[in-house]
Symmetry: C2
Subunit: 243 residues, 2 copies
């Protein structure tokens, strides 16, 4: 039995708005894969486990629902979101609009170019070392750097949420193939184009890369789930009874 003590789950601040804190804890657990997609988050269990009131937990659920990290089904409870093929398509719709636009019209200063250079160098090292998580991290970092070109806080948090959702997609796939080496090369070319002052070409390259990635992931997803959209009942994929 875990005692109802507040695990010092990083982010030390003691009691800065308990609801947001609980939301952060759950967000981290979901991102780490401790809470698998489709599993139910029972109000009673979690409230005693985290040592907060059911009301406060409910508030946390609210923010998580707003972020689409969990799904609330009325009178049934909240479940960790399990994104399907349509969700993947939506994710790439968003990325295809925002990221190419960022490289096309965001004028990168020398600072930013240097940062992106460092990132792709790190990615290349990770590839040579065969480190898949290293490549994944670098890939993610590069996309965040691209978003940063817009200078918009709003777009930053939006894309952070999209990325969190993408991580959930990967969690639903038991075997994650490594298309990452492909991406490393693409990203190198992208930064080179930006350096050369050819934003149109960079944007086109980015769009092609996104199309390719979406295609691969969709193929991988739809192979496993021949009936991806038909989730009208919104039933959790696996009624996992956590613990």
């Amino acid at each position: 039995m875990t005692p109802p003590v507040h695990e010092h789950d990083g982010a030390g601040s003691r009691h800065a708005h308990t609801g947001a804190w609980i939301a952060a804890v759950l967000r981290r657990r979901i991102a780490a894969g401790l809470l698998t997609p489709g599993s139910k988050l029972s109000e009673q269990k979690l409230s005693v486990e985290l040592g907060v009131s059911r009301n406060t937990l409910r508030e946390a659920f609210g923010t998580l629902v707003a972020e689409s990290v969990v799904v609330r089904i009325p009178n049934r409870g909240v479940f960790v979101a399990s994104p399907g093929a349509e969700d993947v398509r939506e994710i790439y719709r968003v990325r295809r609009v925002i990221e190419p636009s960022a490289v096309l019209w965001g004028t990168p200063a020398e600072r930013e170019l240097e940062a992106m250079d460092a990132i792709v160098r790190r990615a290349a090292e990770a590839r040579d070392a065969g480190s898949v998580p290293g490549m994944a991290d670098a890939n993610q970092a590069l996309h965040q750097a691209v978003i940063a070109l817009t200078g918009s806080q709003t777009l930053q948090v939006l894309m952070d949420r999209v990325l969190a959702r993408m991580r959930l997609v990967f969690h639903t796939m038991s075997t994650t193939p490594d298309f990452h080496p492909h991406y490393v090369e693409r990203n190198i070319g992208l930064v080179a184009c930006l350096r050369a002052g050819r934003p149109e070409e960079a944007a086109r390259m980015l769009r092609d890369g996104l199309d390719a990635a979406e295609g691969e992931i969709l193929a991988r997803i739809e192979a496993r789930a021949p009936d991806p959209e038909v989730r009208h009942r919104a039933v959790p994929v696996t009624p996992i009874r956590n613990k």
Copy 2:
């Protein structure tokens, strides 16, 4: 005295999740200008006025905070957001990324082109009739149609929120000048470009229009508030005691 009865505030659905319902009511009141920017939303008063529990009202506040329609200051309460110059800049950062990208890479079908044609025609009629709200509505409709080109639900709701924020900006300005006739012409040209199959030119036109609009609004804002950013104390602009 308004009785604590639930005003049948449109959007008929009877009691689909009370918290969301209350949030919708408040959202509408704010958009309508009944709740002016900077005014405080007292938990006690509103809970009795709307006939819901303080807890439920709190949940509604949570969603409104997530939408940045209201601002919560710890231990002080929630206030209707009063966007300043920096917020306007952020709004246009977002629009400059998303809207030109939508017209550039979203391939409009005949249906959508026709819809946009109808909108600009409506705008022209409103201009000839001297109807400022008519022009404003048409302008808003056109931008929503542009966003719809992406086919992305996520971007749609994002831009809806941005637009709501923009409405708040206008509410903070006592006198709203009508730059709308300018926009009508611009929009006509934009749709024409799209019809002619020149998305690059349309995108450029859209960007120029956004730049111009931002400039005009910023000038109007910074003239009134020579010290726009210094809101560290986050004090409501006017400590309005509503009623």
